[in-house]
Amino acid sequence: MFGTSTNGLTDKLLTFRHGVHPEEYKELSNEKPIERMPFVEEYTLPLLQHIGAPSKPIVQKGQRVKRGERIADAGAYVSVALHSPVDGVVTAIDLFDHPNGQMLPGIKIKADSFSTQQLDQPIPKQPEDMDLDEFVEAVQQAGIVGLGGAAFPAHVKFKIPEGKECRYLMLNGCECEPFLTCDHRVMVEYAEALIDGVAILQGFIQAEKVYIAIEANKPDAVMALREASKDKYPVEVVPLQVKYPQGAEKMMISAILGKEVPAGKLPIDLGVLVSNVGTIVALSQYFRQGQALFERVMTVTGPAVRRPSNVLVPIGTSMREVVEFCGGITDEAVRILLGGPMMGVVQKSLDTPVVKGTSGILVLTQKEVQPFDTYSCIRCGRCLEACPLFINPARLGLLARKGLWEEMEENNALDCFECGACSYVCPSGIPLVQSIRVGKGMIRERKKK
C-alpha cells in the first residue's frame, strides 16, 4: 500500500489536499535527548488544564502531599483529576496567572528541599483485569488528557459512544508545527512504552488496524517505532508528507484513509480514534509504573533561547524556571509563545506555569515577528489554496470585519480550526485567522442566548 522501498520514506508520500509548508526550524532541538528538569521551589497547578469542567481540589492549605498524590478530583464527566508533581506542602489555593491569559483558581505547592524523584505510588490494577468502564474511570483518575495541545480528556475519547465502532486507531506523531520536537523525541526515546500503550488501549477498543502517522522529516522516529513494534504488536507506521497542518486529525485521516470527516462530525463517525503519541505513552506509564500524568515532555526553543532543548518538566513549574534551565533567553527576545509559531498562544510574562497542554515554549526575536503592513485584499486566492478545509478565509475575514456574524455562520466559519495557514500565505498581511476567531466567538455567544 505504501510503496515498495524498504522504509517507505522515499516514495510519493501520502498527504491531504491544500496546506502550506513553513520553514521547519526543527534542527534546533530535534537531536537533543530529553533532559529531566530538576525540582524547583514552588509549583502552581491551575485547576483547569484541560477542556471541560475544572477539577475540584481535595487538599487543604497546609496539607502535606506526596509526589503523584491526587490533589484534585475530576469536576464532571468531561474533566480529569490532578496530581502533585512533588513532595511538599500546599501553601495556597487561590487565583493565579494561567497561560491562557486569565487569572484562574489553582493550587500552590512548596516543594520539600531534598525531595527525590522517587515515586512512592502503588501500581494500579492492571488493564488486563478490567472492563471498559473501569478502564475509562482509571484513565480519568490518572489525569490523562490529550498531550497534542488541546488537552481534551482522554477517557472521553476512549469510551466509544454506543452505536459507533472504532475500526482504526491512529496515533498522531505528525508534529507539523515548526520548531516543536517533543513528540519526535518521545517517539524515539519512549518507543517501547508507546507500543505497550497501544496494546493496553487495543485491549478495550479492538480496532482492526493501528496506524502511527509521522511526518517524513522524522526518519529516526519511523525506524524506532518499526523496530519497537516488531514481534510485539502489529502497527503500521505511516510516513506522511511534510506539510502544515498535517497533524490536525481531520487532515491526517484524509491523508491515510482518503476520507473526509464531514463538517460538524467527529472522527469516530468514520470509525477512527485519533490520539497523540504522548497520551498513549502516559497510559503505559500509569498502568505499568503507577505514574499519573504530572509531568510532560516539552520543547524549549527559538532563536532567542540560549540552549534549545527537550525537557521533561513537572506540571506547574513556572515558565521562567524552565527557560532558565535551558540557558535563559537572550536580550533580543521580544515574543514568548506557548506551542508552535502557527497556533501557539502569546504570553504576557514568563510567570505562568506549565500545564498539561503545553507542548513547547518558543521565544522569538524581532526578526521573526516583524509586523506586516496590512493592505486591501487583492483577491489572489492564495488563502483558498492554503485552507485545508476548503472554506473561504478571505470572505470570512471580510464578513468578520463588517460584523456580519450570521453570514459568517452560513459560510461555515465554525468548521475553521484556526490553523493559520490563510494568514501565513496572505500577501496583503491581513490577519485572517484572527478575524475568523473573533467571528467564531460572536457566533457561539449568540447561540448561547
Partner: protein, 287 residues
Amino acid sequence: MTIIIALAALGGLTLLLATMLIVANKKLYVYEDPRIDQVEDMLPHANCGACGYPGCRPFAEALVSGNALPGKCTVSSEEGRVAIADFLGVSLGAEEKKVARLACAGGTNVAINRAQYQGLDSCRAAALVSGGGKGCFWGCLGHGDCEVVCDFDAITMNEFGLPVVDLEKCTACGDCVEVCPKDLFSLQPISHQLWVACKNLEHGDAVLEECQVACTACGKCAMDGGDLITMKHNLPVIDYSLNHRTKDPIQRCPTGAIVWLDESGITVKGLESKKVIRKGERGMKRT
C-alpha cells in the same frame, strides 16, 4: 370571429378571477388595528431593541394590544412618550431611565500594560490573544468596540482609553453590553449612583501594581455599611433595593474603586482615596 372568442374567453376569465379575489378578500380578511401604523409612526424608528422587542413595529403592536406601555421606549423624548400614551389612552408606565455603566476605571494613566498588542484594532480580537495586553485581566482594553457599536454616539473614548457614556444620549439599548469582551458594561437605573468601578477578583495590595484604582478587597466599605454592601468574590456588591442614597462608602475606599456618579456625569471619589494626577500613560512593565 377569432378575436371575439379570444376577447370573450379572456373577459370571462377576468371576471371569474376577480370574483375569486373579492370572495377571498371577504372570507380571509385579517383585521389589523389601524392604530398600529399610527403608533409606529410616532416611535423613533431606531429599531434598537431597548424596549425588549425586535424593533419598532413589534413594539407598536404590543402597545396597541396593551402588552406594553410607552415608557418602555427609552429612545423617544418625554413628549413623544406622552403623545403615544394620550393617543392610546393608556398610562405612561414611566420607567426609570437606564444607562450603561462601566465597571472599570483603569485608564492608561493608572493601569499598566504587560505586553504590547499588535493585530486587529478591536477589543474582541485583542481579548483572544492572552486576554489582551493589559496587566489586569478584567480591565477595559480600550480599543473602543463599544464606541463603534453605539448607534446613538453616546460613547466616546477619553484620553486615557476609557469609554465615557453620555447620559443624555444613552438609550440603554444594550449593544455595548453585548459587544464588550470583558462584560464591563451593564444597564443600570440612573439612580444607582453608588458604583463599584472595578471587576478585579484578586485581593491584596499586589493588585495596585497593575492598577492604582483597583479594588483590593480590603472590605472597609462593607464593614459599617450594614447590609448595603457585602463582599462577594473579593468585590463589593451593592444591594440597590436598600437605601443607597448615601455617599458614605466612597469615603472609606482607600483606592477610589467605589465612586459616586453625579447626575451630570461627574465621578466623585472619597476624600480618603489616593489622588491620581498623572496625565501621561503609565506604560508597560516588562516581565
